[in-house]
């Protein structure tokens, strides 16, 4: 009788970038009132883990590093059916780049694995605020997990043999990879649809005590590798891009047709070979 899968899903609370505005005069981010969401890419990781648990048994632990208010994201994940939630929060973690983030998360995942070894660590393919896609590989490297990025499907897991087969998005095609557990999977977007939470899960989430670990509780060995101190990259400046010296030359005309004809004229004058290029393209098609 084989046991179920022990899975950890790393999620991140991010500002909803669709609603971020830049102050027109000061060029600073206007944070006030910007709602936070679970990084959308992480939801595919969460659903992939929940689906595996349904099929093979086991537990899904959601883990996030962030300020105390990041517990909102964890509570949401519990509402969707995750079994356990851990918030990694400590002022020593503040200002972490991806290297320092993967260091702290690795400590916490090891801690989770002390009672039952972790079989799969899931992350989204990247976050929408950092967009780096580096934390997943960082955790895999530190924990010596087999690294499977941009996974679109998990067609087979053989619990007895400790083997997993995945489809991985590569340039120009899909790689079918087979490796051993434990592994780290970063899930590709649009590969599944997150379930709605059941009523009992929602109620449980609402009442749940979110476990909060500081650096010591997470078993972090070297505090110097955390947060800003442990980050080799530093943001030296944040700025709005310079407008181009010249604005667009406006094409005038009384009607749409007149503007279109005038545009055709302008474009073919600026690029005399344009019509030739188009003719070649359309002939090829």
């Amino acid at each position: 009788m084989s046991q179920g899968l022990n899975m950890v899903v790393c999620i991140k609370q991010v500002p909803d970038s669709a609603q971020i505005r830049v102050h027109p005069v000061t060029n600073t981010i206007m944070r006030q009132g910007v709602p936070t969401i679970i990084n959308p890419y992480d939801l595919y990781a969460l659903e992939a883990a929940l689906a595996l648990r349904d099929k093979m048994g086991g537990t899904v632990t959601v883990l996030t590093m962030g300020p105390p208010m990041a517990s909102t994201a964890l509570r949401k994940a519990l509402g969707h059916g995750a079994d356990r939630a851990i918030l990694l929060s400590d002022r020593f973690f503040a200002g972490a780049d991806t290297l320092a983030t993967s260091y702290a998360l690795t400590a916490a995942i090891r801690k989770v694995g002390e009672t039952t070894p972790v079989d799969i660590v899931f992350t989204g393919k990247q976050t929408i605020d950092g967009d780096t896609a580096q934390v997943g590989p960082g955790i895999a490297r530190r924990m010596e997990l087999n690294q499977l990025t941009y996974v679109s499907a998990i067609p087979a897991i053989d619990r007895e043999a400790g083997e997993i087969t995945v489809h991985r998005r590569a340039e120009g095609g899909v790689q079918v990879l087979k490796t051993k557990l434990p592994c780290l999977i970063t899930m590709l977007e649009a590969t599944n649809e997150l379930r709605r939470g059941s009523m009992p899960d929602m109620l449980r989430a609402e009442r749940a005590d979110i476990e909060t670990w500081n650096a010591e509780a997470a078993g972090v060995e070297d505090i110097g590798k955390c947060g800003m101190k442990g980050s080799p990259t530093k943001v030296s400046k944040v700025f709005a891009p310079q407008p181009r010296a010249e604005k667009a030359a406006m094409i005038e005309g009384d009607t749409a047709q007149a503007k279109a004809l005038s545009a055709l004229d302008v474009l073919t004058t600026a690029d005399p070979k344009l019509i030739q290029v188009i003719a070649r393209q359309t002939a090829a098609a």
């Binding site: 970038s17 669709a18 971020i20 981010i29 780049d97 991806t98 290297l99 983030t101 929408i128 605020d129 950092g130 967009d131 896609a133 590989p137 960082g138 895999a140 087999n146 690294q147 499977l148 990025t149 590569a170 340039e171 120009g172 095609g173 899909v174 790689q175 079918v176 990879l177 087979k178 490796t179 980050s231 080799p232 990259t233 943001v235 030296s236 944040v238 709005a240 407008p243 181009r244 604005k247 667009a248 406006m250 749409a256 279109a260 004809l261 545009a263 055709l264 474009l267 073919t268 600026a270 690029d271 019509i275 290029v277 188009i278 003719a279 070649r280 393209q281 002939a283 090829a284 098609a285």
Partner: protein, 362 residues
């Protein structure tokens, strides 16, 4: 907390000196992405960019080629010189036939530890990002993803600029106390130079020292994409795209019709992907595809920074928007203030007539 873009003051205040043992790190490297016997063109774009950095630093430019012995690898080495490298670090091994994280990470990490580059650039492809993340962690150095601008600062550090906050601002990131300074750049963000077929250079060979038994992950199969379904936006000569100004999903037809007449690829801005009006492979912008066409026609797209960084490499941009103050007119070359729903069909008609006249004239 990636990159902590909310703390712009992080690097200010004290001056950060490079530790003594890292001062021997020298030269600019570009990872040449060779897979299935072909090099991803982003590698040539990076060599062109790397040449500028090497010149600014007054050091050499080198390419790293990892692959099985054979024609594809030989060709990759030759072309790496054609696109500007002074030197190639080469590891030939059958284990490097198909990309897998472990052997590639070992190969690249070993090369870095032996030959010590100060800057290393990789393409921000699925392969490049997988590898860069693993290598940077192993080396405990800084890695900046998806850079849109690279420069050398007065202290000889790499200043890597990338969009932040979903593309609403840009930030410059430095790695002052670790080496190599690593960065990834997405395809088509940097221009590709003309190859010099006469150019050659020194090849430095190293060994992988790994056995198949040591690699846990096996490649069972590779299923190539059916080309017809995948948008070839990044390398298209002409691109037509629509944004929220299209108002309704059925109006995407107007973009497709103009694209068809122009023999162009079509795409859209991010909001249309979020609404599910087009598939994600057609998104133009920082989180989608970066394009560098000869002509880009943007209809009903406001021109947020995240879209701008994905499209301003176009030789010529024609923007159509009802709002004369839309930011897209700040970086487009030509503008039409008007409703995309009327201008698009008028353009289709105008080009169609012009092309048929030309065809008749032979």
């Amino acid at each position: 907390m990636a990159q902590a873009p909310n703390t712009p003051a992080a690097g200010r205040g004290k001056k950060l000196e490079l530790p003594e043992h890292l001062k021997c790190y020298k030269h600019v490297w570009v990872f040449i992405e060779l897979e299935h016997g072909r090099v991803h063109p982003v590698s040539w774009e990076l060599l062109t960019e790397g040449r500028k950095l090497a010149t600014a630093l007054d050091v050499d430019l080198a390419g790293v080629v990892l692959g099985p012995a054979g024609e594809g690898t030989d060709q990759a080495v030759a072309e790496t010189f054609h696109y500007g490298a002074d030197r190639v670090y080469l590891i030939e091994d059958p284990l490097l036939e198909n990309y897998r994280t472990d052997p590639f990470t070992k190969a690249l990490t070993d090369l870095v530890n032996t030959h010590k580059p100060e800057v290393m650039l990789l393409g921000a492809t699925t392969l490049g990002r997988d590898l860069a993340g693993a290598v940077a962690t192993t080396l405990a150095t800084g890695l900046t993803a998806d850079c849109t601008e690279l420069a050398i600062d007065p202290n000889r550090n790499l200043a890597a600029t990338r969009p932040t906050f979903g593309g609403s601002l840009l930030c410059t990131i430095m790695t002052q106390q670790a080496r190599p300074q690593m960065a990834t750049v997405r395809p088509r963000v940097m221009a590709m130079g003309e190859p010099d077929r006469a150019r050659s250079g020194e090849v430095v060979r190293e060994r992988l020292d790994m056995a198949e038994e040591q690699i846990v992950t096996k490649v069972l199969d590779f299923i190539p994409d059916a080309d017809t379904n995948q948008a070839q936006l990044a390398y298209a000569d002409i691109v037509v795209a629509g944004g929220l100004g299209l108002q309704k999903p059925e109006n995407i037809r107007l973009v497709k019709e103009l694209a068809e007449v122009l023999g162009a690829e079509y795409g859209c801005s991010r909001p249309l992907i979020q609404k599910g009006w087009m598939t994600a492979d057609r998104q133009i912008g920082q989180t989608g595809k970066t394009i560098r066409p000869r002509l880009y026609i943007a209809a009903g797209i406001s021109g947020a920074i995240q879209h701008r960084v994905g499209s301003e490499g176009a030789d010529r941009i024609l923007a159509i928007n009802t709002d004369p103050n839309a930011p897209i007119f700040d970086f487009a070359h030509h503008g039409i203030v008007g409703d995309a729903l009327q201008i698009l069909p008028a353009l289709t008609e105008a080009f169609r007539n012009r092309l048929s006249v030309d065809r008749l004239a032979g």
